[in-house]
């Protein structure tokens, strides 16, 4: 392929391409037949009722486990059966629906470990000149996600809201290109959600974002494209305004009082 063709193709080829992706857990078919393209810089929300398969889809994209059917392509590379650690260097990061933090380490050290993970310096048993920069970077990142005042606190002592902020901070470590957020607003108070929405809107355009979120205010404000899942399948795709007006979405989701469910 010639030089010009490559750069021309870049704007069209999606950074994430799922084809016929499915995942079974024994008898449960958690995800099935999912085709999805996400382009660079896109902000996409994935909606759907409990058990729709959203988190499972994230796990397949992040490499927590491989799909049982179909293929996953990231940045033009087929990564279907590659572990998470082969995807991180491509710039793929994620948060977890239930916070997964290092409770015995300080906030700054949680972020530092995240940065080292992205940098690939895992087995270095000595400190060197770069570490000073990484530690500084970690503290700066903590500031950026609103944790500047608790950088030296142990994570176990943080409030729920602060732990959710740290989740996002850890996913922002090391210049991610694709960031996947699994219900970042879960359990947040109203004021905290407003702050979260602002933070998500402020993400650099070089970062592509996929967002699972039950809170419609957050999801439909941040996202430009919405994918609605139900029973492991994609049932509706559209813009936030199309989604607001969609009858099926109302029946499946809004109608069931999820919005007030918190």
């Amino acid at each position: 392929m010639s030089q010009t063709e490559t750069s021309a193709a870049e704007s069209v080829v999606p950074i994430l391409r799922l084809r016929g992706v499915g995942r079974r857990f024994g008898g449960v078919h958690a995800v099935r037949g999912v085709d999805l393209d996400v382009r660079a810089g896109e902000r996409r929300a994935v909606l759907g009722p409990n058990g729709a398969g959203k988190t499972t889809l994230f796990n397949v994209i992040a490499g927590e486990f491989p799909p049982t059917e179909g293929s996953v392509e990231l940045f033009g590379v087929d990564v279907t059966n590659k572990p998470a650690r082969a995807r991180v260097p491509l710039g793929v990061t994620r948060t977890f629906q239930i916070s997964r933090l290092f409770g015995g380490l300080s906030v700054a050290d949680n972020l530092y470990v995240s940065i080292i993970g992205a940098e690939g310096g895992h087995l270095r048993p000595i400190r060197n000149a770069k570490d000073r920069a990484y530690h500084a970077q970690a503290r700066e990142l903590g500031d950026r996600v609103g944790l500047g005042g608790v950088l030296d606190e142990l994570v176990g002592a943080l409030s729920h809201g602060e732990q959710r902020q740290l989740e996002i901070g850890m996913a922002l470590a090391g210049d991610p290109k694709l960031i996947m957020l699994d219900e970042p607003a879960a359990g947040l108070a109203r004021a905290e959600r407003v702050k979260l929405t602002e933070m998500l809107l402020g993400f650099d355009r070089s970062i592509t974002m996929i967002l699972i979120e039950h809170d419609m205010d957050v999801a439909l404000t941040v996202a430009e494209h919405v994918t609605m899942m139900h029973d492991g399948r994609i049932v509706v795709e559209g813009t936030p305004s199309e989604i607001r007006g969609n009858q099926l979405v109302h029946d499946l989701y809004l109608g069931k009082g999820h919005r007030n469910h918190e």
């Binding site: 991180v88 977890f96 050290d109 080292i116 993970g117 400190r127």
Partner: protein, 344 residues
């Protein structure tokens, strides 16, 4: 806890006092209490290293200590074991460290895939296998052990100069202690703690968890190997009984008495164990029932504080600090009160 700025002076003071002890203690105490505590403490430190940073309780550490000891015994000049090599003691000891680390890495490859109770069982199995191996292979372990293992000449005579090996052990323990403290703040060390706290997150962050655990287990094996080599230098003999299931449990007890979460606890636990073991035997009612008496004391300490003696010390010092500042409790930090920590 000791405030950060006092840590170095306090640590230096402790080491200085420890270094001067042979001048005031009898030869017997220096050798049988102090040196023995340092060596057992070092072995326990290899266990606490994995437990405090990696959340792993390994029962293979004494087996690895034995591998080091038997390797020295076989390679150096000694009575029993493979006599063909008769190497210089330094060369034999260096090779023993290498061999033990390799064995540790091998165990690590298998054990690093498991956690919790499974890890405990796998490492116990390796501990037992190592012991059986040496017991059955009398070519390697002699009949009833390897005796009169030659000592490095710089240590003089074990009987006449007990303080020399004591100082050597002290120096190595200090180095290991500082090394572990340093390691905990390196990228590898912090990442190892990350694995302890949340393995799935570490995988999502791109870490090769299995590889890191394997290497960390190798580091633990190295610490155990140092203890194993020092043990045969000090004791000049080793037998399969040294690494029997009983001593394995006692080493675990030492680590738990000291506190599995702090590396200092290794030597605190070892000193308590050695002193008790030594004193209890001379009490009539205890006599041969030392193990039972130790077990009861162990139970009391664990019931009193799951964090062992270091845990008791920590909760006492934090209680003392809390009552010390009750008047100005709100003055610390950013105003977010933390009443939850007062519970324990």
């Amino acid at each position: 806890m000791i405030p950060a700025r006092l840590q170095w002076p306090v640590g230096f003071g402790v080491v200085l006092v420890a270094a001067l002890l042979p001048f005031v203690c009898s030869s017997y105490t220096t050798s049988q209490i102090l040196t023995r505590s340092l060596i057992l403490g070092l072995a326990a430190a290899s266990l606490i290293f994995l437990a405090s940073l990696g959340g792993w309780v390994s029962l293979a550490q004494l087996g690895l200590y034995g591998v080091a000891g038997f390797t020295v015994g076989n390679l150096a000049k000694a009575d029993g074991g493979a006599k063909v090599f008769a190497m210089d003691i330094w060369v034999a000891s260096l090779l023993a460290l290498v061999v033990t680390v390799l064995v540790g890495l091998l165990i690590g490859v298998i054990a690093s895939r498991s956690e919790g109770i499974y890890f405990l069982m796998i490492t116990l199995a390796f501990g037992v296998i190592i012991r059986l191996l040496f017991e059955k292979a009398t070519d390697l372990s002699g009949f009833g052990g390897i005796n009169q293992i030659i000592q490095p000449s710089l240590l003089g005579s074990a009987q006449l100069d007990p303080e020399r090996i004591y100082w050597l052990c002290l120096a190595i323990c200090v180095l290991v202690y500082l090394g572990v403290r340093y390691f905990a703040r390196t990228p590898f060390g912090l990442a190892f703690q990350g694995i302890r706290d949340n393995t799935p997150r570490m995988r999502a962050l791109g870490y090769n968890v299995t590889l890191m655990r394997t290497v960390a287990f190798g580091i633990g094996a190295f610490i155990a190997a140092l203890a194993g080599v020092l043990n045969v230098w000090w004791n000049t003999q080793i037998s399969p009984g040294t690494i029997d299931i009983g001593p394995v449990i006692f080493l675990l007890m030492i680590a738990i008495i000291g506190g599995l979460y702090r590396i200092e606890g290794a030597w605190v636990g070892a000193l308590i164990y050695v002193v008790l073991d030594n004193r209890l035997r001379s009490i009539d009612v205890v006599g041969e029932r030392v193990a039972t008496a130790l077990g009861i004391i162990f139970l009391l300490i664990v019931l009193l504080s799951p964090g062992g003696v270091m845990g008791i010390y920590e909760s006492l010092s934090s209680r003392w600090r809390r009552t010390g500042v009750t008047g100005g409790a709100t003055s610390d930090g950013d105003g977010t009160a933390t009443p939850t920590v007062a519970g324990d």
